[in-house]
Amino acid sequence: MSCEDARMLLDAYVDGELDLVRSIEIEKHVESCKACARVVGNLRTLGSAMRSSGLYYESPASLGPRLDTALQRTGRSEARPRRFGWQLIAVAASLLLAVYFVARLSPGTLHDTSSNLVAQEVLDSHLRSLMPGHLADVQSTDQHTVKPWFNGKLDYSPPVTDFAEQGFPLAGGRLDSVNGRAVAVLVYQRRQHLINVYVWPAPGVGDAAVSDTGRQGYNITHWTRAGMSWWVASDLNSGELGTFVNLVRAGPASVPAAQ
């Protein structure tokens, strides 16, 4: 093999992309050609330099949750005719959803339409959290680990209290997107049941008493107090969930901490 022919194949040779016959030919040539041997040496040096120089850009931790939220949104408004604009269809889909849920809801609980939509979002988020790897961004039973984790990730500081002594240990926390904003979610455990607690500031909204609703076999509880909106979702029975809700409302957690 001539040097010129060999040169053209040296990259593929180093990359292990040549068939066996060609590869052996190149190998023989390189043994006897100093110039080509140096090219091969340089290619190998360059390759290992690139692989060992930390050139790989690691994705930021926030990207996963961000994609999750975007995908969930798309998933919900999927499967509509494509010739209309994206936003128009999103609006139409939300309206459809709203009409659907208003028609479906049993009377007597959560009359307000926007509450219904939030309740559905909370339920969706709760279901999503049950998928592997989605439950918590910070896994800790220590409120002093979970609370600071939210620092800088939200424009408020969520109240975090561990109720382990009362039988509802804190399991962790995560960021989620509900009602069009990033919110803190605290995860508690009761035996095999998980409880997701959503809390975000609701400035200017008066206190609202606890209201319960059942959806698809899950219990969802909502109240507003001291300018914070609270949502609790779980498959725990409503009796024990009521006990938990009273703890949350009574505990230091019901006092929003100033940032």
Partner: protein, 186 residues
């Protein structure tokens, strides 16, 4: 009509599509971000491009019938990057594959010493490559993909993958050797 709408909006069907998507495509977020970051050369834009690519991928997901989720996703990320580059940058000069590189050729190579390779310099040299060369290097050296996979992602024949890699490496090598020499003399 109503039945159709309900079927299309069936949360169970959507859930299973999403679950399949999460299984096959979502795990390649790291590779998607790395490629987008190298092609856009900006953290913030890379995140936007990855999100856009994921939404596109999800829309096209019904047309994905098995195969390698990573290659499939990276092709979409790559195309999204190019759309982004067209919208946000002056169009760069077209690569002319057949034109010999004026500064190419390995007639008298100097030995490149690994210990003399400066990381920042290497990063900069890679950043300075034309985007077609950059993507080939990123997919090959950082992602460890085969020529066949790179060809599928970029949409070029194997021979072109090989020549792009060769020319890209030749440029990187020159940047490193030249700089090391002038740096050493200074």
């Amino acid at each position: 009509m109503v039945g159709l709408v309900q079927q299309e909006r069936d949360p169970v069907l959507q859930q299973s599509k999403l679950a399949r998507f999460e299984l096959l495509v979502v795990p390649h977020m790291r590779a998607a971000y790395n490629l987008a970051r190298w092609l856009t050369r900006n953290d913030h834009d890379a995140e936007d491009v990855v999100q856009e690519a994921y939404l596109r991928a999800y829309r096209f997901f019904d047309g994905f019938h098995g195969g390698d989720g990573r290659t499939w996703l990276l092709a979409i990320v790559r195309n999204t990057c190019y759309t982004w580059l067209q919208q946000n940058r002056k169009p760069s000069l077209e690569l002319e594959e057949d034109m010999p590189d004026p500064d190419s050729g390995r007639s008298s190579p100097e030995a490149l010493l690994l210990r003399s390779v400066d990381r920042d310099l290497l990063r900069q040299a890679l950043d300075d490559l034309p985007v077609e060369f950059r993507e080939a290097i990123v997919l090959r050296e950082l992602e460890g993909l085969s020529y066949k996979e790179i060809g599928a992602i970029v949409g070029i024949p194997l021979g072109t993958v090989m020549s792009r890699l060769a020319r890209a490496r030749s440029r990187l090598e020159k940047a490193l050797v030249g700089r090391a020499r002038s740096g050493g003399a200074a």
